[in-house]
């Protein structure tokens, strides 16, 4: 639908960069099409390295979905690594899409997936390296349309100034609706950007940020979000979901990279949503309701994907795989594949108490790595606050069983800085870890494996939009450091290894997770100061971020370290994720009184999702 442009020449650069295979674009199952005049060209951009982007299942789904349409050609774009970026900039060459090496300007759409807040500067970098004006208001008729989606688009305000279109919810259906509308308007010669944005905003789940203005109170909180369009409103700003996963599109092949990536295997997505309702977890809220794929469908998917990729390994993806209703049958099937076809099976950590003894032994046959547990908090009190329904007994029993079976490697994940957390809770982490250690020593020497390794990792709690903790303050940097040191000083045993993230990234992530539209300017400023790859500890620059906030006259503490009241209009409240605000308030109150909420299968807690959406093969 656009004039064809000269391809970007990179042959002379490839020998001067690390892992040139990142830029070839001809991997197994990559799409190759002849470019025609009436083809819609879509660049799927992942704002991180090739190795991370290629591990993302969502990209694989949308890539093949779009490419199965005759007159759409979807190509991939990743953030170039530093060496390639420097060479492209030095030689004045545009960033390109992998398949055809076309410059980004040759595309009708550039679609970004928002996987984590700290990737936002990479989005600006990709646009700039593609010679596309960063701010939406500066882009011309012939510039590509910038479309954003993914988990962070449930609060897209901090990046709204850069987007033409933001997609709320699951992308399989809505992406095609948007592209098809564009195609029709172009074909009938009715296309004009403003007209298109008008029309596309009528699709449920489409947010056109330039159609809305935000007003603020004197204290900086949001006063109102208003549509500036005639007949405009917020009624369409409701997330989209796939009602029936068995019927939903899923490719029978996926791209197979040449180089090693983070998840280099077939991944079966077994269900969406989560029954657990952990109060800190954004995924657990935004991906509601629970919808499962049938066992039959999964078996067929496994067969096709392995056949069409030649992959040597398969694993499962979901928020909590043990909760799949037919998990035992599914695992049996995977073990059969393992035995018959020499395919490695990498199983996620499963709650072993759900399984028979024989099943556990079967699982151990194929499990290669150690065990992972995520109690998230060190004390039962705090686990009740966050509604993580895992008891000390569960954990210790499972750990002991694992040690008895000869495992000597166990990983434990916790969060620090959770609401109501005290030093006692932090020391509770230490106590729990030492109890696990004691379980190991209680197994007779001849039965257990030597060389025990317990890895304890803490991440810092970041309150997220649309969770029961969305009103809570995040602890300050000083406090993060203090609590990390407190734990570090007590975890001194030689078998224990304690890892933690620098808190500086967490507080910036916190600001963007619950930020408003004014943060677009901070983001732009930080990018101009040189911030990039902020999710990478070695490249994150806290000083520059602080400078960016200061130069824009905004305070990080206002966004990250402030307690919000229920009456405050939150910057994301014009979006509807199907979970009622009253439910989130109720959950927050229950957290304060340390009351737990049962999982969705045991007892419906009335979050509202089943009234707002209909689904098949789910819980609701």
């Amino acid at each position: 639908m656009k004039e064809e442009m000269m391809k970007v020449q990179i042959d002379d650069l490839l020998m001067n960069v690390e892992k040139p295979a990142r830029y070839l674009g001809n991997e197994m199952n990559a799409a190759h099409k002849e470019i025609t005049r009436d083809m819609v060209r879509f660049a799927f951009a992942f704002p991180d390295t090739y190795e991370i982007g290629m591990s993302h299942l969502g990209m694989q789904i949308l890539y093949h979905l779009l490419n199965e349409q005759e007159d759409i050609f979807c190509e991939r774009v990743f953030s170039p690594n530093e060496d390639m970026e420097n060479l492209l900039r030095k030689n004045n060459r545009s960033l390109f899409a992998l398949e055809t090496k076309s410059p980004l300007k040759a595309f009708d759409f550039i679609g970004f997936t928002l996987q984590y807040e700290l990737s936002y500067t990479n989005i600006l970098n990709i646009l700039e390296m593609g010679n596309i004006p960063l701010f939406q208001k500066d882009r011309k008729e012939e510039d590509p349309l910038v479309i954003l989606g993914g988990p962070c688009s449930y609060n897209p305000e901090p990046i709204a100034d850069f987007a033409d279109i933001i997609v709320l919810g699951e992308g399989e259906e809505i992406t095609l609706e948007i592209v098809n509308l564009y195609k029709e308007m172009k074909k009938n010669q009715k296309y004009q950007k403003s007209e298109f944005l008008q029309e596309v905003s009528k699709i449920e789940g489409v947010y056109v940020p330039s159609h809305f203005t935000v007003e603020y109170h004197m204290d900086g909180t949001v006063k109102a979000v208003r549509s500036i369009e005639e007949n405009g409103g917020t009624k369409n700003l409701k997330k989209r979901i796939i009602e029936d996963l068995d019927e939903a599109y899923f490719p029978d092949k996926i791209l197979v990279p040449y180089i090693d990536t983070v998840h280099n295997r077939v991944v079966l997505e077994i269900f969406r949503g989560c029954i657990r309702g952990c109060r800190f977890c954004q995924a657990g809220m935004i991906y509601r309701p629970v919808r499962e794929r049938s066992l039959d469908k999964l078996q067929k998917m496994a067969h096709d994907l392995l056949q069409n990729t030649g992959y040597e390994e398969i694993s499962l993806a979901s928020l909590s795989s043990s909760d799949y209703t037919e998990i035992e049958a599914l695992i049996k099937h995977l073990i059969e594949i393992n035995q018959e076809d020499h395919i490695g099976v990498s199983l996620p950590s499963l709650r072993l108490d759900n399984f028979s003894k024989e099943m556990i032994e079967e699982i151990q046959k194929v499990r290669k790595t150690g065990l992972t547990f995520a109690p998230e908090a060190g004390s039962q009190r705090l686990r009740d606050v966050i509604n993580k329904n895992i008891t000390e007994e569960d954990l210790l029993t499972s750990a002991k069983e694992a040690f008895e079976m000869g495992y000597n490697n166990i990983k434990l994940y916790f969060m620090i800085g959770l609401p109501t957390e005290t030093d006692d809770d932090i020391l509770g982490i230490k106590d729990l870890v030492y109890k696990v250690l004691n379980e190991y020593h209680s197994v007779p020497k001849e039965q257990r494996a030597g060389g025990l390794k317990i890895t304890v990792s803490t991440s810092t709690f970041v309150p997220k939009a649309f969770t029961p903790f969305q009103w809570e303050e995040q602890i300050t940097l000083e406090e993060i450091h203090r609590r990390q040191s407190l734990l570090k000083e007590t975890l001194t045993h030689r078998s224990i290894n304690y890892n933690y993230h620098d808190g500086k990234t967490s507080v910036v992530e916190g600001a963007f997770a619950r930020g408003d539209r004014r943060l677009s300017k901070v983001l732009h400023r930080a990018y101009r100061l040189g911030c990039k790859f902020d999710g990478w500890d070695d490249r994150f620059n806290y000083q520059k971020w602080m400078e960016a906030f200061e130069l824009e006259g905004l305070s990080l503490a206002f966004y990250s370290h402030r307690n919000r009241g229920y009456e405050e209009l939150l910057p994301w409240e014009h979006f509807d994720i199907g979970v009622n605000k009253s439910f989130l308030i109720n959950e927050n109150e229950k957290a304060k009184s340390e009351e737990v909420t049962a999982d969705c299968r045991l007892n419906c807690s009335g979050c509202g999702i089943n009234k707002n959406f209909t689904t098949k093969r789910g819980v609701c």
């Binding site: 020998m15 090693d260 069409n308 990729t309 030649g310 040597e312």
Partner: protein, 251 residues
């Protein structure tokens, strides 16, 4: 049980795929092609396939080899067709032969690599006579020393280096063609367990030699290599004083 020795080419963009990634690519392609591979025992079974010698990133080749263990023999023509259908463009199985299971491994059989090297120099018109003189002079040196990293001993932190004379490893080094700034060389280098010289290292040594030569003659502009293209023609094993490629050597 059967062992197939295959020869393949690796050209075009495939030269950017590293040796390790080629191994993984073969596993996946063979599985997709439905080849009845034998697997190793244990928790983490993998196909039993071995390769002759690693090719540096950026080097093309007409002569790479693998030994693959199969559950049972299938006609090579069928194997070749099935596998090539699933190979990415740039990798092609060209020749094959079932070999005896007691046959020496590919890795131990490799003795020489044959390369074609095309270099573009910074001087617009290269003089063939001069290039030939340089080569003669380069090879007439008493020794051709190269600095190599020493293997680190256990717990050793600091990298140590050693000087090695690679002159005995250069079996042949000649000019094939001179055209403008570009010169095509042919070389035969010792490869494998008895000594190893990479063509990139040879080029670097030669460039240094030439620069020293021209510096003494006060050439107007310094002579530099602007770009290089290397292609491996084949891998050889010596049988009764004759060089044979790794399939012919077992005929």
């Amino acid at each position: 049980m059967a062992i197939l020795r295959g020869k393949f080419s690796k050209t075009g963009e495939m030269k950017y795929i590293s040796h390790l990634d080629i191994v993984r690519l073969f596993h996946r392609v063979l599985r997709r092609a439905g080849i009845n591979m034998s697997y190793s025992q244990g928790f983490n079974p993998h196909p039993i396939i071995s390769f002759a010698t690693a090719l540096s990133l950026g080097v093309e080749s007409q002569g790479e080899y693998f030994d693959l263990k199969l559950d049972e023999e299938i006609p090579f023509r069928e194997f070749k067709e099935k596998v090539n259908e699933h190979m990415p463009r740039g990798i092609k199985i060209v020749e094959g032969k079932y070999i005896d299971s007691k046959q020496d491994s590919l890795m131990s059989m490799v003795e020489y690599s044959d390369y074609k090297i095309a270099l573009d120099f910074s001087v617009e018109e290269m003089n063939e006579r001069l290039v030939k003189e340089w080569i003669a002079g380069f090879l007439e040196q008493e020794t051709i020393m190269i600095t190599r990293k020493k293997k680190k001993k256990r717990r050793q932190r600091r990298q140590e280096y050693k000087e090695v004379d690679v002159k005995p490893l250069i079996k042949n080094f000649t000019v094939e063609k001179v055209e403008g700034r570009s010169v095509v060389f042919h070389t035969l280098l010792t490869t494998g367990s008895k000594g190893n010289l990479k063509p990139e290292d040879l080029i670097q040594l030669f460039e240094k030699y030439v620069q020293n030569q021209s510096a003494s003659k006060e050439l107007e502009q310094p002579l530099e290599i602007m770009s290089k293209r290397i292609k491996r023609n084949d891998l050889y094993h010596e049988v009764n004083g004759e060089l044979k490629n790794l399939i012919d050597a077992v005929r």
